[in-house]
């Protein structure tokens, strides 16, 4: 999930600099991906970025899993004049936590996404039209399967670490359950082995907002014009009001009461006096902020992808799938690092404790911290210095001793 509330970090000498998104074509005929639903999908294009150098023994690769609306661009900038750096830029770079002088860092857009990897906005080769809602149902397991194939295609059998927060953390857990030998350490932040009923509820309202938008057109709202990666454009003609509304709602769940209070309070946006106008949408600063977040989101995200990916999150339930959480996580020798945040009410600490409980019962190597932060669910994106102190020695130990 995650709303990237963090201000863009100014580039410095610890940035990876200018980077380019790359593309891999996987699951080419006659070997399509068999999805968990049983459907087949292929070929699948995957957008990814890499930073640093792969060691000759291919033992220093770290895979970064992004949250619900993230993309492959985790670090650096796409051009010298681009305003915004990657979504976890302060974590990845030379001398940073994921030290690109030492480690080979990979991040890829998820299956079903809309930022370069095959998803509902991609062209269905069978019909030469965007998939829309004809895109097959997908799960977190399917997402991981595609990423594992990508990692393998890069010549990497075993990852030094898989790291992610929120939906990214779910992918981390799925990685170790599905490919227990391919991961030497698993770093799961602000996440859970299954989404809570409350989380499903918020997702349901977000999806309903999209379905209820008159522009939804049953998912067939794509324009004829194609984007740079070949997919059809979304936005203007799509269910943008519904999607913006879904984002506004979700955004509130990523913050904490305290962080909203600190940042906005009851301050007014336009003047220091109430306007006494019912339909003025941005009377308070927090309203203006949420509207801005909603609008900006519509420009970069496809409503259909939002539907598919939130559904994949709802379905994620590691314990049910593998009999028990202990069974799911006990299959690997990986070291685990789990962290949760006191102010995160969307993925509360109790859910991380469940993971740790299972790890300890399964006699796994488990490190767990409950971190202080006011930023709610978004903390894992913002409190990067706190993570650095813990993850640098954790990764170092894993790298040295496995």
């Amino acid at each position: 999930m995650a709303s990237e509330i963090a201000e863009p970090v100014v580039a410095d000498d610890r940035s990876v600099g200018i980077v380019q998104t790359q593309y891999a074509e996987l699951f080419q005929p006659p070997a399509p991906l068999v999805l968990e639903s049983g459907e087949r999908l292929g070929p699948i294009r995957v957008a990814y970025e890499t930073y640093g150098e792969l060691s000759p023994r291919a033992d220093n690769a770290i895979f970064v899993c992004h949250a619900l609306t993230g993309d492959a661009h985790v670090a650096g900038r796409h051009s010298p004049d681009s305003r915004k750096s990657g979504w976890w830029d302060s974590l990845v770079g030379p001398g940073r936590t994921l030290d690109t002088d030492r480690y080979f860092v990979i991040c890829a857009n998820v299956l079903g996404g809309c930022q370069g990897t095959t998803g509902p906005s991609s062209i269905d080769p069978a019909t030469d039209k965007p998939f829309g809602l004809r895109f097959p149902f997908l799960t977190v397991g399917d997402i991981v399967e595609v990423h594992q194939a990508l990692v393998k295609s890069l010549g990497i059998e075993t990852l030094l670490a898989v790291i992610g927060g929120s939906l990214g953390g779910m992918q981390v857990l799925e990685w170790v359950a599905r490919h227990p030998k391919a991961v030497r350490s698993a770093i799961c932040l602000a996440s859970a082995s299954r989404l809570s009923a409350q989380g499903i509820a918020f997702n349901a309202v977000g999806r309903r907002a999209i379905y209820a938008d008159p522009n939804f057109q049953n998912g067939d709202y794509y324009m004829a014009e194609r984007g740079p990666d070949g997919s059809r454009r979304f936005g203007e003609d799509g269910p943008r009001f519904g999607l913006a509304l879904a984002r506004m709602l979700a955004h509130i769940t990523y913050l904490s009461e305290l962080s909203i209070e600190h940042k906005f309070g009851r301050r007014l946006q336009h003047s220091d006096q109430l306007a006494y106008q019912l339909q003025r949408e941005t009377e308070f600063q927090i309203e203006s902020y949420l509207h801005y977040q909603g609008q900006r989101f519509v420009e970069r995200f496809d409503a259909n992808s939002y539907l598919y990916l939130t559904r994949a999150m709802d379905y994620f339930d590691l314990a049910t799938k593998y009999g028990s959480l202990e069974n799911a996580l006990g299959r690997t020798q990986a070291r685990f690092f789990v962290a949760s945040y006191h102010s995160d009410w969307l993925f509360p600490m109790s859910q991380s404790r469940e993971i740790v409980h299972a790890l300890v019962s399964a006699r796994r190597h488990a490190t767990y911290l409950e971190l202080e932060s006011v930023f709610g669910h978004d903390s894992f994106l913002i409190e990067v210095e706190q993570l650095e102190k813990l993850l640098v020695p954790f990764l170092d130990q894993t790298y040295q001793h496995g």
Binding site: V356, H357, V360, S361, R363, A366, Y368, L369, F394
Partner: protein
């Protein structure tokens, strides 16, 4: 004030580690409560082939433990061991900490929930010098590590070996081993232990657990 007062000596850490290790079977699974920088767990892992897990509250210590490759859960012992399942460990270690937690009795019970056996080291405030001091100067005892006074000592509970035995009996706990420690030396079966020992090590297990031959490895 403090200088004139007798302080119960804290055990030297290397000695403490040796003592505890002598009571832990090779190849077992051990939980260390208040593991600090993970020193004892490292030795258990490297020298005893033990599967290890630490719990520590203090963040800098947690970072130290991570830097040693020790798996550590940051938690406060007063808030329970909810992350740990029943009988997840063979041994749980609590070294010179019991007197510092809010509810020692609860913690002992939780320890025997999460592990088959517990190794506990406690200071013995029944030592004759403590008694004499209280008698002669009327001042409360403290332990050695820092110049604490009664109002800022981490020790919330003062107990003697006799007191601890009473508690164990009350908890229906089986005592596998009781080792008085006198001036840094373990003296099994010491005479007048409650008068002479400054610390004592206990190996206990739940009386409900099936009895195993009480041989120290």
């Amino acid at each position: 004030m403090n200088q004139r007062r007798y302080c119960l000596p804290d055990l030297e850490s290397a000695l403490m580690d040796r003592l505890i290790m002598a009571h832990i079977e090779r190849g077992s699974r051990v939980l260390d409560l208040g593991c600090g920088d993970g020193r004892l767990l490292c030795r258990l892992r490297d020298e005893h082939g033990v599967s290890i897990q630490g719990i520590e509250r203090d963040l800098p210590q947690v970072v130290e433990a991570i830097s040693k490759g020790v798996p550590v859960i940051q938690a406060d012992l007063d808030e329970g061991l909810s992350e740990i399942g029943d009988q997840a460990f063979d041994y749980v270690v609590l070294s010179q900490t019991l007197q510092q937690v809010l509810h020692p009795k609860d913690l002992l019970q939780r320890m025997l929930r999460v592990a088959r056996r517990a190794v506990v080291v406690v200071p013995n405030f029944g030592h004759w010098r403590v008694r004499l001091q209280l008698l002669l100067t009327g001042r409360a005892p403290v332990t050695q590590s820092l110049p604490y006074d009664w109002y800022n000592t981490p020790n919330l509970h003062l107990l003697s070996m006799l007191d601890f035995r009473d508690l164990l009996q009350n908890l229906r706990v089986r005592v596998i081993d009781e080792v008085p420690i006198i001036r840094g030396t373990a003296v099994p079966n010491a005479r007048l232990a409650n008068l002479r020992a400054d610390n004592a090590l206990y190996v206990i297990e739940s009386a409900e657990a099936p009895a195993v031959a009480a041989n120290s490895p």
